[in-house]
């Protein structure tokens, strides 16, 4: 069986779902079409078969869940059961998340430029290093106590 599911730009998409027909190239279907803006392609569904699940591992209680990879599974429960041995054999884990990979939307590589600041953003960082040091040497620093931590 050939998979002729081509994406918006005529490139073969990742192999599609066996149960749901892929939308034809150029279809305006809102939930599956990639989005273009003035600058080009900016977001698209990650694109994966229906039975692919993204796995997130929480190492310790205070950690966030971190993406570890995918498993193929027929449903969420099986995905979790399989993820345990496929992704946490050597790494500490207290919790797993799984989500259908085809539910993940991603910003496009074309849009990476939007994340690079064009102007000085040092105001987000409390000013320059020298200014920071000056601020700390003030009464703010003097009033600091261990139990404030």
């Amino acid at each position: 069986m050939t998979h002729d599911n081509r994406g918006h730009d005529g490139q073969p998409r990742e192999s599609g779902d066996v149960t749901r027909p892929q939308p034809a190239a150029g279809a305006a279907s809102a939930e599956t079409a990639a989005r273009h803006d003035a600058g080009g392609l900016w977001e698209h569904p990650l694109g994966a078969a229906r039975d692919v699940w993204a796995v997130f591992v929480q190492g310790r209680r205070r950690d966030t869940h971190v993406y570890a990879g995918d498993v193929h599974a027929p449903d969420a429960e099986m995905a979790l059961v399989l993820a345990k041995e496929n992704y946490t054999r050597r790494d500490p884990c207290v919790s797993l998340w799984v989500v259908r990979a085809d539910q993940i939307h991603a910003t496009a590589q074309d849009a990476a430029e939007m994340f690079v600041p064009a102007t000085d953003k040092s105001y987000r960082f409390g000013g320059s290093y020298r200014q920071q040091r000056k601020a700390f040497q003030s009464s703010y620093q003097a009033a600091y106590r261990e139990e404030d931590q």
Partner: protein, 320 residues
């Protein structure tokens, strides 16, 4: 999939920009535009790698039931498990390039797909386990290590994880190697014999010295190939011949010699025809192992069907 099927020509401007990006050291992510030939070659490389992990489990798993101690039994099971797991990771990378795992496995089981030469050979004794874990995995490490800097990011990331785990395998392998090399005369003889039988397939593993060709140049420019076959083979010899000598065993090739001036090993030219034959499925164990895979694949057909039906019944679960 031996030749690229005819496709529409790529947009030359996009192709040029793509090559520039790769040559400037950028990695390409899943879902990005790829030249058709790049996609074809990357898929061929990664599929063969995935297939090799799955087929590579077969020679070693024969010794799991016969492992001579509880500790070895657990360690070998864990090691082969890792290989199967690597197959899982690699098929997933191949999926991002446009093939489904089911298709790739169907091709493999039907004998339409290739896997590395070494896994077409028998694992005749327990000592073969030591040789496979040190030298075969060691050989694979050279290639996999180099490809960590390949241009396809999903493959590069998975290779980092694979190399991390292969390191443990080689350590385990060296432990088995040591037990045998420092053991009874029978154990040493078994080890030497296994080394002798595996030597040529391991030298073959890296492939013939690369022909200078536009194809090879393109693969290097696109960083689908990072080091040449001969470079990798030399790397392997430099690291692993000392292991053999350290334990007073014999390098099976009497023509193997270190050339100080050239800083490389010379070795007896192996029979490349054997490599070609084996690669096409003509190895001593090729047919038997394929048949074994087919048997289980067929045995599990109803399980796959049951799971597919379950998948369809639950397809609408928690859909936004």
């Amino acid at each position: 999939m031996s030749a690229m099927p005819p496709v529409l020509p790529d947009d030359p401007e996009m192709g040029r920009r793509f090559t520039e990006r790769v040559q400037s050291g950028e990695q390409i992510e899943a879902g990005e535009w790829l030249p058709a030939e790049y996609r074809f070659e990357a898929l061929r490389l990664i599929t063969m790698h995935a297939n090799s992990e799955i087929m590579g489990a077969l020679p070693e798993r024969e010794w799991i039931p016969r492992a001579p101690s509880l500790a070895r039994k657990m360690a070998l099971t864990a090691k082969v498990q890792d290989e199967v797991g690597h197959g899982m990771l690699l098929y997933r990378v191949a999926e991002t390039l446009g093939r489904s795992r089911d298709e790739m496995i169907a091709d493999l089981v039907a004998g339409r797909a290739r896997f590395h030469n070494v896994f077409h050979y028998p694992a005749e004794t327990w000592a073969d386990v030591a040789i496979i874990q040190v030298f075969v995995d060691g050989a694979a490490m050279q290639t996999q290590g180099a490809l960590r800097s390949c241009s396809y990011a999903p493959y590069s990331r998975v290779l980092k994880r694979i190399c991390y785990e292969e390191d443990f395998h080689i350590q385990l392998g060296l432990d088995v190697w040591r037990s045998l090399a420092e053991g009874t005369p029978r154990q040493r003889a078994m080890l030497q014999d296994a080394l002798r039988r595996w030597w040529t397939p391991i030298i073959h593993f890296f492939g013939m010295p690369d022909r200078v060709s536009p194809h090879t140049e393109k693969m290097l420019a696109w960083r689908i190939k990072v080091k040449s076959n001969e470079e990798l083979r030399q790397q392997f010899l430099r690291r692993f011949v000392p292991v053999i000598l350290e334990y007073g065993l014999e390098v099976p090739d009497p023509g193997l010699r270190w050339q100080e001036d050239e800083q490389r090993y010379v070795y007896t030219e192996p029979d490349w025809e054997e490599l070609k034959r084996v690669g096409r499925g003509g190895g001593p164990k090729s047919a038997e192992r394929l048949a074994l895979r087919q048997r289980f694949h067929e045995q599990h057909a109803w399980v796959r069907e049951a799971v597919n039906r379950w998948l369809q019944d639950h397809a609408q679960d928690a859909v936004a």
